[in-house]
Subunit: 458 residues, 2 copies
Amino acid sequence: MPSLLATTPEAEYAPFVLTGVLLTLIIVYLMSKLGGELSKRLDLPPVLGELVGGVIVGVSALHLIVFPEAGAAATDSLLMTTLQWLGDLDAEAVAHIFTSQSEVISVLAELGVIVLLFEIGLESDLRELGKVGYQAAIVAVVGVVAPFTLGTVGLVVFFHVPIIPAIFAGAALTATSIGITSKVLSELGHLKSTEGQIIVGAAVIDDVLGIIILAVVASLAKTGEVDLVNVVVLIVSATAFLLGSILLGKFFNQSFVAIADKLQTRGALLVPAFTFALAMACLASVIHLEAILGAFAAGLVLDETDKRKELDQQVMPIADILVPIFFVTVGAKANLGVLNPTVPENRAGLVIAAFLLVVAIVGKVVTGWTIFGKPGINRLAVGVGMIPRGEVGLVFAGIGSASGALSAPLEAAIIVMVILTTFLAPPLLQLSLKNQESITPEESDSEEGENAAVPVVK
Amino acid sequence: MPSLLATTPEAEYAPFVLTGVLLTLIIVYLMSKLGGELSKRLDLPPVLGELVGGVIVGVSALHLIVFPEAGAAATDSLLMTTLQWLGDLDAEAVAHIFTSQSEVISVLAELGVIVLLFEIGLESDLRELGKVGYQAAIVAVVGVVAPFTLGTVGLVVFFHVPIIPAIFAGAALTATSIGITSKVLSELGHLKSTEGQIIVGAAVIDDVLGIIILAVVASLAKTGEVDLVNVVVLIVSATAFLLGSILLGKFFNQSFVAIADKLQTRGALLVPAFTFALAMACLASVIHLEAILGAFAAGLVLDETDKRKELDQQVMPIADILVPIFFVTVGAKANLGVLNPTVPENRAGLVIAAFLLVVAIVGKVVTGWTIFGKPGINRLAVGVGMIPRGEVGLVFAGIGSASGALSAPLEAAIIVMVILTTFLAPPLLQLSLKNQESITPEESDSEEGENAAVPVVK
């Protein structure tokens, strides 16, 4: 009989992995609350504080939360050295525990942004989104074309960067972090305003465009030519997925409610809804789209049901627990060391970074002026809302780095651009929305959006 | 400048790990709902259905959810072979993804049982628990001594098992799965009855005793003698932890409420409470107690605050999402193959298993008759509530197996005993509680306990 309980490193180190995850989560929640509350007192969006809180415990400062993807070893992690001391572990054990713990936290962070987009989908309205669909599409396309062209041409002309790395940098400029923007909009109670819906719609379309651009650029860097079949497959599957979700929204609703009504055990509404969100996320990820797009689509579909409010209230605590993991780890992964001008190696990168930052802001802000037929709309806010590159920009930089196409200064410059747009966008967006009467389809919905900033428990 | 975005296997396989986790979670939720609902229709505790649902997708049947700790390879996992086909991956990549995905699911399951015990703590009452404290302590001690003595002596006398493995088997018989018992009690609305509080109290004490026994037995198997210092340290730290929690319950409450009241961002109550639960779980785990004991203590402490109801309502959706992962994976890990009498190797084990099962049931059921000063108490229910060995019993068997002390038939017998007590306990407990008027301290509290079986949203 084969042993049923063979000991593997996994089993032996399991208690330490759990302790490592628990310690990381405790740090994440402490920093997210400290940062968020401080930000709120300073009249800034709380999410900015969560990002800064992440920076403090991350690779830039305290080294409590670091990740092997960024080249960190277990010995770089203050948390791991503490655990090594607590558990009297050898170096090999700590390396194993570090990898496992980091993978768990990374997946929890991804589940966090999945739940965030599910919640944003639940708070968005398919019909309202449809009404601003054309505008959102134009904003997205201009927000891709403008920074890409300006960035690529500028790098080649002014900085004599070769064409392939210039295209990579240009591609990184096209991204929009839907997570950061939608979180700020939600915190400010502007998610349901016309501006908010245009930004969210454009960010979704931007995400799809970004995935297509990434596929083009990656195959260009790898083989020197574009894999057309792959690109066509991506475009077709992305379109089919988005249209399919909208159709599903019309038909699946009622059967979902019927199923949920029949269930008698705990979590009768939440568990099927959450399963549906994960299934859509999984489907999106299998057809090479981003998982968060699937979760957003699932939220849109379930928003059409009459269980919406009840579901919203039950998803909220889950978001409260999972979403901070995402924002704090984004902050923890941002290496602000590349911003230090006293390090000679950084200087070349910082000059390019300054150029990329200008392009990154201008290229997105102009999109606000492409909106037509909406007199009185806050064009600046729409443009500013598209600025944060966030994790999407880092993915571009990461793939560029892996392909070996990027020089060290250019890579650093892209990272600086991503970090600065991510951290500048929340206060800029708040500023551009301040003292404005938002154009909201329904006044009652707008109020609810503002309440979303505090837990609603009746 | 060191590359900030070096590609490691972790980064390269990350999307597949996420897809693997999402697929596993989808299967977990489908099986937990299918099993739970079917169980409910058959008038059985839903948790039994979740366990059986786990068995169906686990190592015993469909091989969708299997774990490397139990000796499974990536090629044994139907989910991994599907992912390999979807992503066109090589064997090495799949092995890496399998390990990562399993670690993530294992940690999520552990977070599930941590949240479950936090919730049970929130629903328990420190004063009520104090009132039954002596009874619970006696039930726990008898429930450890009786099965240990009967089992060890019986194995030596009737089956001529050497003394060290006999002691291991005896130790595995002492465990009580607080998770399974408290979930069934909560589902039946009996958590707050006197019987329920005695069972929960005894299970907590049993857990502490179990950890001490485990330390004794493990050092006995390793060095042939007992490491007295270690045992004394464990007893002192366990006692200090439990008494410290109770003291904390009296003083920390008010400062906790004051902090939560001052917070203005989302999750103002939930995030500090959850952080406290994780910190207590972490502390328990660092001093070599079980993490779930810390979470239970945290629940007890916060139960004393006037935020109790609000918190309870916000913890519920998190429990709905995380707890099923625990029960379904417990089922998935249970290898029912050892029950098959047509396999000749199993027969020797099955005879010992039958003996262990009788000892396991009798040794716990007798504990009900040790209760004094509570006329009219359901003694049978208390005894039956202590029967399930669950994950705690498997930990004993696993450590015994790792030490090399157990023969294959004895190891199989222990596993059979653990599986059968775990699966038999929920229906037996329901049966023994049926048609009884429970003795409840406050009638209103009991009603609330019953409502806990359905999501409470007002």
